[in-house]
Subunit: 332 residues, 2 copies
Amino acid sequence: MPTTMRDVALKAGVSIKTVSRVVNDSGEISEATRQRVLVAIEELGYRPSRLARALVTQRSHTVGLLVADITNPFFPEVARGVLDAAQTEGYNVFLCNTDGDPEQELHLLHSLADHAVDGIIIYPSYESGEYLQTFAGQYRPLVIVNYYHDQQGVSLVIVDHKRGAQLAVEHLIRQGHIAIGMLSGVRNPSLGKVRRIQGFKEALTAHGLPVVEEWIVANKEPTFADGYASTRQLLSQHPQITAIFAYNDLLALGAIRACNDLGRRVPADCAIVGFDDIPWAATSIPTLTTVRVDKYLLGYQAMTRLLEMLEQPELSFPPICMDVELIIRESA
Amino acid sequence: MPTTMRDVALKAGVSIKTVSRVVNDSGEISEATRQRVLVAIEELGYRPSRLARALVTQRSHTVGLLVADITNPFFPEVARGVLDAAQTEGYNVFLCNTDGDPEQELHLLHSLADHAVDGIIIYPSYESGEYLQTFAGQYRPLVIVNYYHDQQGVSLVIVDHKRGAQLAVEHLIRQGHIAIGMLSGVRNPSLGKVRRIQGFKEALTAHGLPVVEEWIVANKEPTFADGYASTRQLLSQHPQITAIFAYNDLLALGAIRACNDLGRRVPADCAIVGFDDIPWAATSIPTLTTVRVDKYLLGYQAMTRLLEMLEQPELSFPPICMDVELIIRESA
DNA sequence: CTGAAAGCGCTTACAG
DNA sequence: CTGAAAGCGCTTACAG
């Protein structure tokens, strides 16, 4: 039985309203009674119920964060950024895994809305267009990462995938590579996948290199195991390839392992570049050259934006573009 | 303006109470009016507010999860387990990072209580004894991981650290090693640290090997960088060491890298065993021999236990012991 | 400077 | 089988 405002009021010999006044620091109160109430609060160990407060103010000071899978090493840092930004403002955050399933996603979105979260940050799956449309229509604000969605009350955070891919390929070309393959990521047409492939091709063309479709292989999952398997296959079928650009680091790390097992030295026989710069990219042997996305900052900015939207619901905000950076290590 | 129960009642031409009846499936209602209400709910897209419901039922269907740092690769899998178990029961979970700071921890604990979470799962820091004591006294239920705390309304989940350490050392001894060093983890006396060191020493003694204190080095942080640095130092000062047991995989991975840079082949010149079996342990070069903790199961069971405590508050439950398993790979 | 009333959106006994 | 009243723990106008 936690103590309530009424308990404090009784103890201090004042009305509930007066207690509310000191709790919320809403001025207009004599110092004497203020102190009396403060003492009562202290003695009773009273803490106002955010739940009850939320019901009347329509502000719960909670938000939701939906990611595909927190065990994908890309997401913990994003989450950390979100959580840190949230915490400084006294917000708590619900974490949810969608597994990239649009139905699951919608289910969770509604579940969060039922809990009256003040806003939601979501990494949508690749096919959640219509779902999102209707949900966003009735629930705001929303911050959507890596997905185009033009709607009032919705803010965007977009990573510059294309430029990242270009940086990677240009680096490879600079090293003298002319036969460059790509592990192009999951089959579904995500924004990231489309843009990274686009950047890859444009960079090749810009430097007078042909685009060989057979050298661009799709993956089932963006995982180490998949990167390993597809690299073995790619290099067996097209041994002339001397460099690989991977959709993400997990795939790239798998590619390194595949080269290792195939007796191809990295980078001497096959150079490899990843994308994301997850923590172990810096610790593999050899260390991985990759395109860094500042995941922490991404999360931090997404949450900051959400807070801004909460403060000024009438404003509309421009998309946040996340810059990328080529990190040159040993693998290329 | 989300639609409320009153809106539904108006539309269906019944009382609020009747709507509540069909929403909660609490029987005693004619099929005709039931259908009428259902239609109204459907048309209005009504969803009951969990907030309002929580206020009266004193059950929010939310829980809190406190970990030191979600970017430590040990925790995402734990979190995944917790989230999966929570989701099947319709619970949402607040994630918080404590950074191992007791004050921060207490602050978050209270913040969660303010939000009326039904229970909390916590990986406490090493010095939060008194804090926890008082908090647990006024707030239940609590599931505490890797920390001894005997109190009503508190359940424990404990990893068998000692046995893990013994398995690791015995494996090393079986390979013929007699000069075995240890990276003993963070300076603070956590349960895990104490138990792992204890298991390490006992295993040596049990096999007639001396315990050399200088070969057991403490670390500032359980990270790759720290593992790298302390291994370089350890092997320079005591070159006779041919095997290292590390407090966790991050340290072990750093140790591999250090050996690599020192020109010591792993495992030929120096065998290395880690602890935890984080995902990249299986993908490093060489792959890491380690003591597996089923992190997902740990989280899943912790959440399941919390749910049980919620169902049967009067019962007291025995601690959950997490078994460990030696995973033999290439590094030892 | 302080308090009594109404209400946030629900559920819980209690009547009819 | 259905409804009117009270209340969960707060805040928001409105009086005094």
